[in-house]
């Protein structure tokens, strides 16, 4: 018996493509497992030999600092060989299709492929074509499951339970995969979710998700326990969805004045990287009393270790599932 099969399985699927397909039990088990890795990450000896001999490939078609390094560190702490491939150095820029790139990588026999792509559904397509585990590290405007899991872990460590919590997700909800994954997750675990944004940035039919929508921050933040700010994609927003960043900050940027309308003791989160003075005021972002932004980064590594751990439990002890 190999160690990989000695522990109980956590995920029913061989892939982590989104939050939508996860059960509450799967989410809870992942969060519980991640707690162990939080402790490991704070110890002097941060490594575990769990994935020794395994190969993890980070395939990033969109620039990313935080998510990519977080996955890389998670893989390395678990003893895997981690290879980073980013779009600038890959042959995708030479005209190769996504499938060709992936099948080429597949021939190198990785155990786990972590993929970020600008198109929604890209991770799912790869999962159908390849025979390794696929982790969605963000696909278009669809899902970013590890971000939602790390957000949940961060909140659970501060608030113990999700029941009865009101969570406001503010900003560019329409284009945000982080928002979609979080809406799924927090709705599943019993929290109430509100979306606050100008109408141009609210997704159509958002009410069908079972969430409340607001266009006014002051109104929407009333009684909120957690304020999650989203990054405004400045490069494609200005002029098209909002007239200017100064107007955006005036009405939807989180400053102390707006935060004062939330529940006393409300906490602030941001998936990063932040646009200071656009969606969030530095006075709020840097206030360690309310800001969980750095904690989110720490939880990110723990969650990704838990995800790699959970997926590796489904891998055949002798090698890959072929």
């Amino acid at each position: 018996m190999s160690p990989a099969t000695a522990v109980p399985p956590i995920l029913k699927s061989n892939h982590l493509l989104g939050i939508e397909g996860l059960s509450v039990a799967e989410i809870t088990s992942l969060l519980d497992l991640a707690e162990e890795y939080v402790a490991l990450g704070r110890a002097k000896e941060k490594k575990s030999p769990l994935l020794k001999g395994r190969t993890v490939i980070n395939l990033f078609f969109e620039p990313s600092t935080r998510t990519q390094s977080s996955f890389e560190l998670a893989g390395k702490r678990l003893g895997a060989d981690v290879m980073n491939m980013s779009v600038r150095t890959s042959s995708v820029t030479k005209g190769e299709t996504l499938i060709d790139t992936a099948t080429t990588l597949n021939a190198m026999r990785p155990d786990i492929l972590i993929v970020r792509h600008q198109d929604s559904g890209a991770a799912e397509m790869l999962a159908r074509k390849l025979d390794c585990c696929v982790v969605n590290a963000g696909d278009g405007s669809h899902e970013h499951p590890t971000q939602a899991l790390l957000d949940a872990l961060t909140i659970r460590r501060r608030r113990r339970s999700f029941e009865g919590l009101t969570i406001a997700i503010c900003g560019d909800v329409a284009h945000s995969r982080v928002a979609r994954s979080n809406i799924h997750l927090f709705s599943k675990v019993g929290a109430r979710v509100r979306l606050i944004a100008p109408k141009t940035l609210l997704p159509v039919a958002a009410d069908r998700y079972g969430v409340e929508t607001y266009t006014d921050m002051y109104e929407g933040l009333k009684g909120v326990d957690i304020v999650m700010m989203l990054r405004l994609q400045l490069e494609r927003m200005t002029g098209a969805f909002i007239p200017s960043t100064r107007e955006y900050f005036r009405y939807w940027g989180l400053d102390r004045d707006k935060l004062a309308h939330a529940k006393p003791g409300a906490l602030v989160m941001h998936p990063g990287p932040m646009n200071r003075g656009v969606e969030i005021d530095s006075a709020v972002a840097d206030d360690i009393e309310v800001s969980l932004i750095h904690e989110q980064v720490e939880m990110g590594v723990a969650i990704r270790m838990a995800v790699l751990d959970a997926l590796s439990r489904g891998l055949c002890a002798e090698g890959r599932n072929v």
């Binding site: 109408k199 141009t200 266009t215 002029g239 098209a240 007239p243 200017s244 100064r246 005036r250």
Partner: protein
């Protein structure tokens, strides 16, 4: 501080907002209406200096003109806020909504502020600016509607331009609805309309002028109604001119959409034949339509299907109008003929006075969310005293606008503004004006 008080007695009070039409009186205190009602002040001393004897004439809320173009800033030789306000008060208009297509375009909060300060310093009426819906009126990038609204913009419009990019318009409407603010649209398909001068039809063919069909308006009306349905924005068609547009808007209103519309006085009084022998003062946007369309527009005002009547006052200097018809500028002045044209519809077409005055006062006030436009306690004392029967021939030299491009030269009218008040103060008195 002493109370400034004026009493109006012996008036025929018409308040379209409440439906009041009765003999009575009204009291003004410190610029606001303190009391109003039938049979009020019947026994007051008419020689008291604080008392104005209305001698049975109509006392109504001052007119609110939702569509006024001036040349300030940028083309002050055509019209300034001050000269437009002189024309306004002579026409019984106490609030003008000015369009943003000036030079520079009113698309910045500081420019909204400029208009308001400039008007405060020079104009005799209330001047409320609309701001541009898109930057530089280019139809590409939406303006800072939140900040502009805070600066005092009462609505957003690209003036006489129609957005052709529906994606931009959809987003602008969605963004506007975020702030619950009004968007005012102009309905003329830009491509079909380009280079044309008059309404397409037999008369245009005889004149040999490039012409645009009424359908160019209707298709934009129908398009914009769909976008309103998608976005929930409050939308006002600044001016429509044909039966099919009105039908589309009536249907949209019946479906509960937040849509209203206006029409210019010219389009109620004139038709395509008035272009006559290439008379450039008849060249307006949209063009004067067929008699059937004009009659349908009058019916629309009478039924209430058309909400607002505007002057679409557009002063042009002689050099831009004294041109071959196709090259001449669009536009006609109208602040001083707005009320006489409306009264003409009462006299000749039997449109109820209350309905006509409502389209000039309470309707624009409610669409724009203004406190005026009604005879009610607490409302600003912006008033007009109207002689509905006084006959006159329109003499362009007696008009107060800096421009002379009226399409009504020599026309017979019946009824005009006798005296105009803003905040309870007399800003126009015809007897004094005629003695000048």
């Amino acid at each position: 501080m002493s109370t400034r008080r004026t009493v109006f007695c012996n008036a025929r009070l018409i308040d379209p907002a409440s439906g009041l039409d009765a003999k009575g009186g009204l009291m003004v205190e410190n610029g606001k209406i303190a009391d109003v009602g039938g049979r009020l002040f019947g026994d007051v001393d008419r020689n008291d200096p604080e008392v104005i004897d209305c001698k049975g004439l109509i006392l109504a809320p001052g007119l609110i003109d939702m569509r006024v173009f001036t040349g300030e800033p940028g083309s002050e030789h055509r019209e300034t806020l001050e000269s437009a306000s002189r024309a306004a008060v002579a026409g019984g208009v106490t609030t003008i909504i000015v369009m943003p297509n000036t030079d520079p375009v009113i698309d910045e909060p500081s420019l909204v502020d400029f208009i308001r300060r400039r008007a405060e310093a020079t104009a005799r009426v209330r001047v409320l600016p609309m701001a541009a819906l898109t930057r530089h009126l280019k139809g590409e990038v939406m303006t800072e509607m939140g900040l502009l609204k805070e600066a005092g913009a009462v609505a957003f419009t690209d003036a006489d331009r129609t957005l052709s990019n529906t994606r931009v318009l959809r987003r602008a409407l969605a963004y506007a609805s975020t702030f619950g603010t009004l968007v005012v649209g102009h309905a003329e398909d830009p491509d079909l309309t380009a280079g044309t001068a008059v309404n397409e039809g037999e008369y245009a063919t005889r004149l040999g002028l490039p012409a645009v069909p009424a359908a160019a308006e209707v298709m934009i009306v129908e398009r914009d109604i769909r976008l309103v349905e998608l976005t929930g924005a409050r939308y006002h068609f600044g001016q429509i001119s044909c039966r099919a547009s009105l039908q589309a808007i009536t249907d949209a209103k019946a479906r509960g959409l937040p849509i209203t519309c206006g029409i210019s006085a010219q389009h109620l009084a004139l038709n395509e034949l008035d272009v006559g022998p290439y008379y450039t003062f008849m060249k307006v946007k949209p063009p004067l339509r067929s008699e059937a369309d004009r009659a349908a527009m009058v019916d629309g005002v009478a039924s209430g299907a058309i909400d607002v009547i505007v002057s679409s006052h557009d002063p042009q200097a002689a050099d831009t109008k004294r041109q071959p018809f196709t090259q001449a500028a669009f536009g006609a002045i109208g602040l001083e003929t707005l009320l006489p044209v409306a009264l003409g519809l009462h006299h000749s077409a039997g449109v109820p006075l209350g309905r006509l005055l409502g389209a000039l006062t309470s309707a624009p006030a409610s669409i724009l969310g203004l406190p005026g436009g009604r005879l009610a306690k607490g409302a600003p004392a912006d008033l007009v005293l109207i002689d509905p029967d006084h006959p006159f021939l329109l003499d362009p030299d007696k008009l107060h606008s800096r421009a002379r491009n009226t399409p009504f030269e020599g026309r017979k009218f019946q009824g005009l503004a006798v005296r105009t008040f803003v905040g309870g103060e007399t800003v126009f008195d015809r007897s004094a004006d005629e003695a000048r």
